[in-house]
Symmetry: C2
Subunit: 245 residues, 2 copies
């Protein structure tokens, strides 16, 4: 059983405005919830439907609710078996390790893209990311969903990009462009910075001023019409693969 | 102006059942519609809102309709400026060129994934794809949307996979797995076949029986918890990048 008041409060968290005000967000699905409970994130409520049993989850703080109640609090069209309310972490620029590679995201707006980037970054050991303030927030339910739990292992900082890049004079800053040096011919260093631009406008001018090397993912030659671009998450993923191999 | 009857007919095409029955599908957005009109696809209706002018589109067969009417026929939450009704092509196994590389998709269910795979395949010059019959149909509006027009340059065949693979004895069949030989160390041949498995179950047993070499996209070593997998579209994209570079 869950109070009407709590249901209303949780439903507010479906909206960015209230996530920002209350500094909480929603994680859904058994796998993601369990990973969140095992991480450093602060979980303030966890709910499971009666389809799960306490032994499935091995955590005594979980509140069991009906499937109907779960449907009411879930953001998904098919309600999950488990849902957590989690405190938004506060990551600052000081938290970024200057000895490690950094992925910089300039105005990534699509939640699916950001989620896929976070998931892929986790795979390739990029555990820190700097997002422009106009990127979609990573606590958006669709982002969290697409990360498949990888957000729990990522340090994600939102800040003004060009100010930060101006302080990183000793590191090489790469930008992914449609035209540049072929990505597979680069020799990366352990603390490189790579910038991925927005889905529709690429890398913004203010950020471009800090880029040392433009790189591209070569298109296979076409006889006729050609595709316009690669998806931003795909481009970021191929870059991270090249960086690690 | 568009008749009520035609509006109803088009709205039926939002659903798979009616796309299958009528053998038509919907393409939305100016760029995708123009690419479709310039392709070999048979466009039976094209609509544009009054925000576009005839000179923008340079095609006299376009019917101009109001934004309200466009909203009624569109599948999108934000109606596009252009929408086409297109005849479903019929691609058969005979249409697949055995001298070229072939991407085989085993039960890819997520429309965004299939769309991203088609878009990325176009970038890397993989213009033919074989999909299992339980893959999402590529004429699903979300797939078409995610291809960004690339479906017009792709031959997409739906068939029973293991029967076809059994006939391709002279080609090497690779499968993307969580554990296999590192992808970056492979030397591919111009007519290789690569199999990508489903988001949740990987490559099915019947198909696995035809795979010669299991390959993997290596995960960067993690100190603690690790991600479970890469997204299927991401894995397919990284494979195609490796194949071409």
């Amino acid at each position: 059983m869950i109070s009407k008041n709590l249901i209303s409060q949780i439903r507010l968290l479906h909206h960015k405005k209230h996530r920002d005000e209350q500094q909480f967000f929603i994680v859904e699905g058994v796998k993601s919830c369990i990973e969140t409970l095992q991480s450093n994130f602060e979980v303030v409520h966890s709910f499971a439907t009666n389809r799960l049993s306490e032994t499935d989850i091995n955590n005594s703080d979980i509140q069991f609710i009906s499937e109907k109640e779960m449907e009411r609090i879930s953001c998904l069209s098919t309600a999950p078996e488990m849902l957590c309310i989690v405190k938004k972490p506060t990551c600052h620029l000081d938290d970024l390790d200057e000895e490690k590679p950094l992925l910089v995201l300039d105005a990534i707006r699509d939640p699916g893209n950001l989620g896929t980037i976070i998931r892929t970054a986790d795979w390739f050991g990029f555990n820190q990311m700097l997002c422009s303030e106009d990127c979609v927030e990573f606590t958006n339910p669709k982002v969290i969903q697409a990360t498949m739990g990888s957000f729990t292992r990522s340090k994600i900082v939102y800040a003004q990009l060009s100010d930060y890049l101006a302080t990183q004079k000793k590191r090489t800053v790469y930008g992914l462009y449609m035209n540049g040096e072929p990505i597979q011919k680069q020799s990366f260093k352990p603390n490189d910075i790579i910038v991925v631009g927005s889905e529709s406008h690429g890398i913004s001018e203010a950020v471009a001023a800090h880029i040392h090397t433009k790189i591209e993912i070569p298109m296979f030659p076409h006889a006729g019409a050609t595709p316009e671009s690669l998806n931003a998450a795909m481009a970021a993923g191929i870059f991270m693969f090249c960086y690690r191999n």
